[in-house]
C-alpha cells in the first residue's frame, strides 16, 4: 500500500513524533548522568515540554484531518522504523502528558532528596522510572511494528514494576515480583503470537501485515491463533478480570503517585495495543463472537470489581478494585462498534459513538483515577492511615481534597456533567442502537455499584459526628490544587460537546478501510 507513503509526504509535523519519543529518553539519560537532586529538576523541566509537544501533535492532526507519519532516517518499513500517530494516539499522548505533569508536581513532596545527602535511593529511582514509563508509553502509542511495540511494552513493564516496590518492604517486593512474573507470562504469549504472524506473513509492520492479511484469503488459522495469543497476553498486562491477580497487591503498597501512573496510564497501554491489533491489524477477521467474549469479561470485571470495591477496608484498595471495574467498560467497545445483526464483521463506520465513548472512558478514567489515588495519598499522609473506618469527618479537615475526590467520583459514576457521563451516554446509545441491551444493563448496574462504593467514602467524610480528626502531617495546598486540577479535567471533558471529539476518529476509518474491498 502506497497510500501511507503519499499520506506521509502530504503531512507536516512528522518530526514532532520523533521529539515525543526522544524527549523522555533524553531526559532519562540526563537524569541518570546528573543524578541526585537534579533528577527531579530534569523531570519537572521536561514534562511541560512534553505536554507542549503532545498538544502540537494533536493540533497538527486536527488541522490536517489526517494521521501523522514519520519514517526514521527516511527509511520506510520493512527496512526502517516508522512512527505513526492517528487521533487515538494523539489523544493518549496528550492524556499521558497531562497526567504525568500532575503526578510530577504531586510527587515532589514524597520524593524529595532529604537535606544533608546528595542522593537518595527512592527519589532517584522514582524520577528516573517516571521518565522510563513516559518513554515506554509514548513508544507504545507511536509504534507501527508489532516487534517494536513489544520492546516498548517491555520497557513499560520493567519501568512500572519497580514503581510498586519503592518502599522496599518485603510485601511490596513480593507484590512487584507477582506483577513482573504475570506480566512476563503475558509477554511470552505476545511474543509467541508475533512469531506466528511473522511465520505466516513474513512481516510485523502493521500496515503491511494488515494488507497481506486482507488480500490472502482464507486467513491462515495460525494468524488467528497469533491474534488470540497476543490478545490474551495483553489482557494479562491490562489486568482484565479474571487475570487481575497482580493488581490489588501491587496497589496495596505502591506510593500514591506510582498507583496513579499504574492505574491511569500503564494498564491503558496494553489495552491500546489490543485496539491496534483488532482494529488495525486484522479488522476483517475479528468476529462478533470474539468481541462478545471480550465484552463478557469486561462485564464480569465491572460487576465483580464493583462488589469487591464495596467490601474493602482500605481506601486505596477500594480505588484499586474500582480500577478493575472501570477497565471492564473499555472492553464493551468491541461488540458495540458494530451491529451483529447487520454487519458480518466489525466495522467502525457503523457506530462512531461507541468508539468515541470508549476513548472518552479511557481518558476520563485516567484523569479521575489518577486524581483519586493522589487524593487518597494525601488523606493517608495526613491521617497516617487510610482505613475507611477512620475517615469520619475528613471533609472538615481536608475539604479541598475530599471535594477533588468527589469530583473524580462524579466522573467515575457517570453523572453529568463529566467525561464519564459523556462516555457512558455514548456507550449506552451504541448498545441500544446495535440491539445489545444486555450490555446496557451491565453498564447501569456498574454505575449503581460505583455510586455505592463512593458513598462508602463520601458519606463518612461529610459526617460531622465524633471527635474532630487530628492530622499527623499538614497537607500542602499546592498538592491539593494539583489533585483538584486533574479531577476538574475529568469533569470538563463532559462539558465539551460530543461533536468536537472528532480527534479520536481521525485516522480510524481510513486505517480500517485499508485493503478492504
Amino acid at each position: 500500500m502506497d497510500s501511507l507513503a503519499t499520506l506521509a509526504s502530504a503531512t507536516w509535523g512528522g518530526p514532532l513524533l520523533v521529539l515525543a519519543l526522544m524527549l523522555p529518553v533524553a531526559a532519562l539519560m540526563l537524569a541518570f548522568v546528573l543524578g541526585g537532586r537534579h533528577a527531579e529538576r530534569v523531570v519537572l523541566a521536561t514534562l511541560p515540554i512534553g505536554l507542549g509537544v503532545a498538544v502540537a501533535i494533536a493540533a497538527a492532526i486536527i488541522h490536517q484531518g489526517a494521521a501523522l507519519h514519520y519514517d526514521l532516517g527516511g527509511w520506510a518499513p520493512p527496512l526502517g522504523v516508522s512512527l505513526h500517530a492517528d487521533g487515538l494516539s494523539a489523544t493518549l499522548l496528550l492524556t499521558t502528558a497531562v497526567v504525568l505533569c500532575a503526578v510530577g508536581l504531586y510527587a515532589r513532596a514524597d520524593f524529595r532528596v532529604p537535606p544533608g545527602v546528595s542522593e537518595a535511593r527512592a527519589p532517584l529511582a522514582f524520577w528516573t522510572l517516571l521518565l522510563a514509563v513516559w518513554a515506554g508509553l509514548n513508544a507504545v502509542f507511536l509504534g507501527q511494528d508489532l516487534f517494536n511495540l513489544y520492546v516498548a511494552l517491555e520497557l513499560l513493564t520493567f519501568a512500572a514494576v519497580p514503581l510498586v516496590c519503592l518502599s522496599g518492604s518485603p510485601q511490596t517486593i513480593a507484590a512487584a515480583l507477582r506483577y513482573l512474573l504475570f506480566a512476563l507470562m503475558g509477554s511470552v504469549l505476545y511474543l509467541l503470537g508475533g512469531a506466528l504472524f511473522y511465520g505466516a506473513y513474513g512481516t510485523l509492520d502493521i500496515p503491511m501485515l494488515s494488507a497481506r492479511l486482507a488480500s490472502g484469503d482464507p486467513i491462515a488459522p495460525a494468524a488467528l491463533a497469533a491474534a488470540a495469543l497476543m490478545t490474551a497476553g495483553l489482557l494479562a498486562k491490562t489486568a482484565l478480570f479474571p487475570l487481575h491477580l497482580w493488581l490489588p497487591p501491587a496497589h496495596a503498597g505502591a506510593p500514591a503517585a506510582g498507583s496513579a501512573v499504574l492505574s491511569a496510564l500503564v494498564v491503558k497501554a496494553s489495552f491500546f495495543l489490543i485496539l491496534r491489533l483488532w482494529f488495525d491489524v486484522m479488522p476483517a477477521s475479528l468476529t462478533h463472537l470474539a468481541a462478545q467474549v471480550l465484552a463478557a469479561l469486561g462485564a464480569a470485571a465491572i460487576l465483580f470489581g464493583g462488589v469487591l470495591a464495596l467490601r474493602q477496608a482500605r481506601l486505596k484498595m477500594l480505588i484499586a478494585y474500582s480500577t478493575l471495574a472501570q477497565i471492564g467498560y473499555l472492553f464493551l467497545v468491541f461488540p458495540l462498534v458494530a451491529n451483529p445483526a447487520a454487519a458480518p464483521i466489525l466495522d467502525l463506520g457503523q457506530t462512531p459513538g461507541a468508539w468515541t465513548g470508549g476513548v472518552l472512558q479511557l481518558v476520563s478514567h485516567a484523569f479521575a483515577k489518577a486524581a483519586m489515588f493522589m487524593a487518597a495519598g494525601l488523606i493517608a499522609g495526613a491521617l497516617g492511615h487510610d482505613q475507611l473506618r477512620g475517615l469520619g469527618g475528613i471533609g472538615r479537615v481536608l475539604p479541598m481534597t475530599v471535594f477533588a475526590f468527589a469530583l473524580a467520583g462524579l466522573s467515575l459514576m457517570g453523572l453529568p456533567p463529566s467525561g464519564g457521563f459523556a462516555s457512558k451516554w455514548l456507550l449506552l446509545s451504541a448498545s441500544i442502537e446495535t440491539g445489545q441491551w444486555w450490555w446496557t444493563l451491565v453498564m447501569l448496574a456498574g454505575g449503581l455499584l460505583t455510586g455505592a462504593y463512593l458513598f462508602r467514602v463520601l458519606a463518612p467524610a461529610l459526617s460531622t459526628r465524633g471527635p474532630p480528626l487530628t492530622l499527623v502531617k499538614p497537607v500542602e495546598r499546592s498538592r491539593e490544587l494539583v489533585v483538584l486540577g486533574l479531577a476538574l479535567c475529568s469533569v470538563v471533558l463532559g462539558l465539551v460537546p460530543f461533536s468536537s471529539f472528532g480527534l479520536v476518529q481521525i485516522g480510524r476509518l481510513g486505517a480500517t478501510g485499508i485493503g478492504l474491498p
Partner: protein, 548 residues
C-alpha cells in the same frame, strides 16, 4: 432586563451563591442569604405568567442539539410557586438552624438542591433535564441526612438508594428517547414527539413512569417519602414534600406524549395513581408522627395528579396537563406551609396553639376540597378530567380519604406542642409560615385562570360549594371514628414496604462474601495461569467459529 437573561439569572443566582461559598466569610453568612437565592426565579416566573412577551428562552446551541432553557406555562407556574416556597423555607431555615452545628454544610446542600429543583422546571433538553434532575435528587440527600443521627443516616441511605435507582431508570429512558429520535436535536419536545413511533416505546414509557413516579411518590416506589420527611430538618421537609416531589410531576408533564392517545399506558398510570391515592391514606392514618402523616398525604395527593395525567394520556387530552399542574401547584404551596406549621407548633406552648392550628386546619381541609380554600379550586380544576364515571366517583372518595388523613394530621400535630409551660415560636419561624399560608389560600384564586376554571358564577354556585363540602363532612365524621377506634389499627412502620427488604443487607453480605472468596481463588497462581491459557484458546475458538 430581557426575559431570557432573567431566566439565566434564575439559575445563575444559586450557582453564583454556591461559588461564593468557596470563600469562607460568605460561607459563614450563607444561611442568612438563602431567602434571596430563589428570588430571580420568582421574578422570571411572574413575568412569564403575566403574559409579557412570549416566555423566556435561552439556547446554548440553537442549531444542532438545542441544549438550553425554556420557560413555558406549566413550567412557569410550578417555577413560580416553587421559588416562593424555596424563599420562605430558606428564611425559616435561617432561624431554625441558626446556632446549631453544620449550618454551612446545610446551606451548601440547600443551594445545590435549589439549583437542580428550579432547573428541572426550565430545562429544555434531555441533558439539561437529566443534569438538573440528578442534582435535585442527589443533593437532597444532604438535607435528609443533615441531622447525622442514626435515623437520619438510615433515611439518607434509603433515600439515596431509591434516588439513584430512579436516575438509572431515567438515564436508560433518555438514551432510548435520544436513539429513537431521528434528528440530532435533544430538545425534549423533539424527542418526545418521536416517542410514539419508537421501537422501544413501551419500555421507554415504563422507565419514564417508574423514574418520575419514584420521585413523585407513586406506589410502590413511594417508600422514601415517609422515611425521609420525618428525618429531615423542618424547612428541608417542606421543600422535599412541596418542591422536590414536583420534579417527578414536571417530568411526567414534559416527557409523556400527550397527543398520542396511548390508552393502555394511560389506564396503567391511572391505576397506579388511584392505588397510591388510597394506599397512602390507609397507611397514613396508622402513623403517629405528624410529619410522617404529611408525607403519606403527599404520596396520596400525587397519586391523584397521576390519575389525572393517566386519564389525559389515554385520550390524548392536553387539558389534563393544565389541570394536573394547577393541582400540583396548590399542593406545593399548601404542603410546604403545613410542614412549616409543624415546626411552629413544636415551638409553641399548648395554650397558644389556636392561632397556628386554625389556619393550618383550613389548609389541611383544603386537601379534602373544603369550599373557598385553594384546595377547593384545585379539586374543581381536575373534576372535568376525572369525569362522572367510576374514576370521578373514586376521586370523590379520595377527597373523603384526604379529609380523614388531614384531620388525623391536625390531631397528631396538636398533640405535639412545645413541652415548656410558656413558649412561643421565634418570629423568624412564624412569618415564613404566614407568607406560605396566605399564598396557599390566595394564590390559587389569582392563578385560577391558568387552571382553566370556569366563570366565577359556576365556581361559586351552590352546586359546586355543596359538592366540595359534603366529602369533607363525611371525612370529618370518619375522623371522629378514627379518633375513637384508631388504637385498634395495626402499627405500620414508616416506609411500610421497605420492611420487606429488611434482610436484603444480609443477602448482599453473603453474596459479597462469596465473591470475595472467589477473588481469592482466582488470584492464585495456578488458577490465573490456567485461565490465561484457557482465555487464549477461547478467543482462538471464537475467531475460528466466526470465520468459517
Amino acid at each position: 432586563m430581557t426575559q431570557s437573561s432573567l431566566l439565566m439569572a434564575a439559575l445563575g443566582t444559586p450557582v453564583l451563591a454556591l461559588l461564593a461559598c468557596l470563600w469562607r466569610p460568605v460561607r459563614e453568612r450563607m444561611l442568612g442569604l438563602l431567602v434571596l437565592a430563589p428570588l430571580p426565579a420568582l421574578a422570571a416566573a411572574v413575568i412569564a405568567l403575566a403574559g409579557v412577551g412570549e416566555g423566556g428562552r435561552w439556547m446554548l446551541d440553537p442549531g444542532l442539539l438545542q441544549i438550553g432553557l425554556v420557560l413555558d406555562r406549566p413550567g412557569a407556574l410550578l417555577l413560580g410557586v416553587a421559588a416562593l416556597l424555596w424563599g420562605a423555607a430558606g428564611a425559616y431555615a435561617w432561624t431554625y438552624l441558626r446556632g446549631k452545628p453544620n449550618g454551612r454544610r446545610f446551606a451548601v446542600f440547600w443551594l445545590l438542591t435549589l439549583t437542580g429543583s428550579l432547573g428541572v422546571f426550565v430545562a429544555a433538553d434531555l441533558l439539561s433535564f437529566y443534569l438538573t434532575f440528578a442534582l435535585v435528587s442527589l443533593a437532597a440527600w444532604g438535607l435528609v441526612a443533615h441531622d447525622g443521627t442514626v435515623r437520619a443516616r438510615r433515611a439518607g441511605v434509603v433515600y439515596l438508594l431509591l434516588a439513584v435507582l430512579g436516575e438509572v431508570f431515567l438515564l436508560l429512558a433518555f438514551v432510548l428517547l435520544a436513539v429513537a429520535s431521528p434528528g440530532d436535536s435533544l430538545a425534549i419536545g423533539a424527542v418526545v414527539a418521536a416517542l410514539p413511533g419508537s421501537p422501544w416505546c413501551g419500555p421507554t414509557l415504563g422507565l419514564l413512569i417508574a423514574g418520575f413516579g419514584l420521585k413523585a411518590g407513586l406506589v410502590p416506589l413511594h417508600v422514601w417519602l415517609p422515611i425521609a420527611h420525618p428525618a429531615a430538618p423542618m424547612p428541608a421537609s417542606a421543600v422535599l414534600s412541596g418542591v422536590i416531589v414536583k420534579a417527578g410531576i414536571i417530568g411526567l408533564i414534559r416527557f409523556l406524549p400527550w397527543d398520542a392517545g396511548l390508552v393502555d399506558w394511560g389506564q396503567a398510570l391511572t391505576a397506579i395513581g388511584l392505588c397510591t391515592a388510597f394506599y397512602a391514606v390507609a397507611i397514613g392514618i396508622t402513623q403517629a408522627n405528624p410529619k410522617t402523616v404529611l408525607a403519606y398525604s403527599t404520596a396520596s395527593q400525587m397519586g391523584l395528579v397521576a390519575t389525572v395525567f393517566g386519564l389525559g394520556l389515554a385520550v390524548g387530552d392536553g387539558a389534563a396537563v393544565t389541570a394536573g399542574t394547577f393541582y400540583a401547584a396548590h399542593h406545593l404551596l399548601a404542603k410546604g406551609a403545613l410542614f412549616l406549621a409543624v415546626g411552629v407548633v413544636a415551638a409553641t406552648d399548648a395554650r397558644r396553639l389556636w392561632p397556628v392550628l386554625a389556619p393550618a386546619g383550613l389548609l389541611a381541609l383544603g386537601f379534602g376540597g373544603l369550599p373557598l380554600t385553594g384546595g377547593f379550586l384545585a379539586k374543581l380544576a381536575v373534576k372535568p378530567v376525572l369525569g362522572v364515571g367510576l374514576v370521578g366517583w373514586l376521586g370523590t372518595l379520595s377527597a373523603i380519604g384526604s379529609t380523614l388523613l388531614m384531620v388525623h394530621f391536625l390531631h397528631r400535630v396538636a398533640a405535639n406542642p412545645a413541652p415548656e409551660a410558656v413558649a412561643s415560636a421565634a418570629p423568624g419561624l412564624v412569618w415564613p409560615w404566614w407568607v406560605m399560608c396566605l399564598a396557599a389560600l390566595v394564590l390559587p384564586w389569582v392563578l385560577a385562570p391558568l387552571g382553566r376554571l370556569g366563570p366565577w358564577s359556576d365556581t361559586l354556585g351552590w352546586a359546586a360549594l355543596w359538592g366540595g363540602l359534603w366529602p369533607v363532612l363525611i371525612g370529618a365524621v370518619l375522623a371522629l371514628g378514627l379518633r375513637r377506634w384508631g388504637e385498634r389499627l395495626p402499627k405500620v412502620p414508616e416506609g411500610d414496604l421497605v420492611v420487606l427488604f429488611s434482610n436484603a443487607g444480609r443477602v448482599a453480605a453473603a453474596l459479597g462474601d462469596a465473591l470475595e472468596r472467589a477473588d481469592g481463588w482466582l488470584r492464585r497462581w495456578p488458577v490465573a495461569g490456567v485461565l490465561l491459557l484457557v482465555l487464549a484458546l477461547v478467543l482462538w475458538g471464537a475467531m475460528l467459529a466466526g470465520t468459517r
